[in-house]
């Protein structure tokens, strides 16, 4: 496990794969596997932060405030129907759930594995720490690693599922002026409405929308800057360390961990595929006005996936500028992943399954 922790450090430092998470995760994995270090024993150094931040689910929620403060939903407000691609981009979560159950995972373990498909670190950490904390290490490493591999994972799927004619579709510019009041009302309305429909997801929805409200209202700039800088950075450091510290050899070195990593890859691939297929449907229904490639941006890897779509579209048609449309889909995916997790949590509550 010390070697695995070192590999994560290499990926983060040398290769630049999500270094803000992989460096503390890798180092935490090394620390916890040093014999007799007792980092995660009762009273241990990392155990202290794990109990106050991970077990209580506070850390991922605080990061979400920062994410909301850094996200610009204007492209989505200009073109709201694109949000449906954000919904389609989450279907990989639920298909992977069925695959995990078919492979023999326990119900809640399957839920934790499937949430990798949300392609959103804090969401994956929040759900897995709630229902399957023993899988937190594998799920987190998978989620963050695959997010940074989106530029490698998505393009082949985009090429296989679309025709050259579809890839060349030029989408017209959508420039709708949006009032500042609309931008302020958006996070408030989303919080109220989505939380009423999926109440167990209120912490997830509320924190990301709080961050966005602070960004848009412009009267709490200090709080906004603290959320996206000091708070997000401190929590990211401690969260990474805690996740790494769950990677004790006796818990992590199982064949099941490799299956979790494989299923995570499948989940994100399925998200991309379903997003593109939904994009093809929208293309058909609009008479060819929508380029199906933007469906790939319906995942929550914001804004990386949008850039991948732009680059891919440009390869086939230099006149095709898909970036803003893909950003709309990507912003939709950001909300979609939170809503999908909220719906999942609420259904589980309805089934009488309450996490720890």
């Amino acid at each position: 496990m010390i070697l695995i922790g070192s590999v994560l450090l290499y990926l983060g430092i040398r290769k630049g794969y999500e270094p803000l998470l992989l460096v503390p995760i890798g180092f935490g994995a090394i620390l916890v596997n040093i014999p007799l270090s007792e980092m995660m024993a009762e009273g241990g150094f990392i155990r202290f932060f794990y109990d106050i931040g991970v077990r209580t689910e506070i850390f991922p929620l605080l990061i979400f405030v920062g994410i909301g403060a850094m996200t610009d939903f204007q492209p989505l407000l200009e073109n709201p129907k694109i949000i449906l691609l954000g919904a389609a981009g989450q279907f990989g979560i639920f298909i992977t759930l069925l695959l995990a159950l078919a492979l023999g995972f326990d119900k809640l373990d399957a839920v934790a594995v499937s949430i990798i498909g949300a392609c959103d670190g804090p969401t994956a950490i929040y759900v897995s720490s709630k229902f399957a904390p023993h899988m937190l290490g594998a799920v987190s490493v998978a989620a963050y690693s695959y997010m940074s591999l989106v530029p490698l994972i998505q393009p082949p799927i985009m090429r296989v599922l679309t025709t050259e004619k579809e890839r060349m579709i030029v989408m017209g510019a959508v420039k709708q002026p949006i009032s500042q009041t609309t931008k302020i009302m958006f996070p408030i309305v989303v919080t109220i409405f989505a939380s009423i429909l999926a109440p167990k997801g209120a912490p997830l929805i509320g924190t990301v929308m709080l961050g966005n409200l602070m960004k848009e209202c412009s009267v709490v700039d200090r709080l906004k800057r603290a959320s996206e800088n000091e708070i997000a950075n401190i929590v990211t450091l401690l969260l990474g360390l805690c996740i790494g510290a769950t990677m004790e050899a006796d818990k992590f070195l199982h064949a099941q961990t490799l299956i979790v990593l494989a299923l995570g890859f499948v989940a994100i691939s399925l998200d991309t595929a379903v997003g593109i297929l939904f994009g093809k449907l929208m293309c058909l229904l609009t008479g060819g006005k929508i380029n199906p490639l933007i469906g790939a941006a319906g995942i929550s890897a914001f804004p990386m996936s949008a850039r991948v779509v732009q680059a891919e579209g440009q390869k086939y048609n230099k006149k095709s500028y898909l970036l803003m449309h893909a950003m709309s889909a990507n912003a939709g995916g950001q909300i979609g992943s939170v809503i999908a997790a909220a719906v999942m949590l609420s259904v589980l509550q309805g089934m009488g399954i309450v996490g720890q």
Partner: protein, 46 residues
């Protein structure tokens, strides 16, 4: 509840619920935009 009932229930309600919530959100966005339109551009002088 057996495993497959659990799985299919969660999957089907999850997918349809997510799509439904986001569809209604898109309608709400259109409503908010209508209720709070951007200020009209000032007429050009001259």
């Amino acid at each position: 509840m057996d495993t497959w009932t659990f799985g299919w229930t969660l999957a089907l309600i999850g997918m349809s619920g997510t799509m439904l919530v986001l569809w209604v959100l898109s309608l709400l966005i259109l409503l908010i935009r209508k209720v709070f339109p951007p200020p009209a551009a000032a007429p050009k002088k001259g």
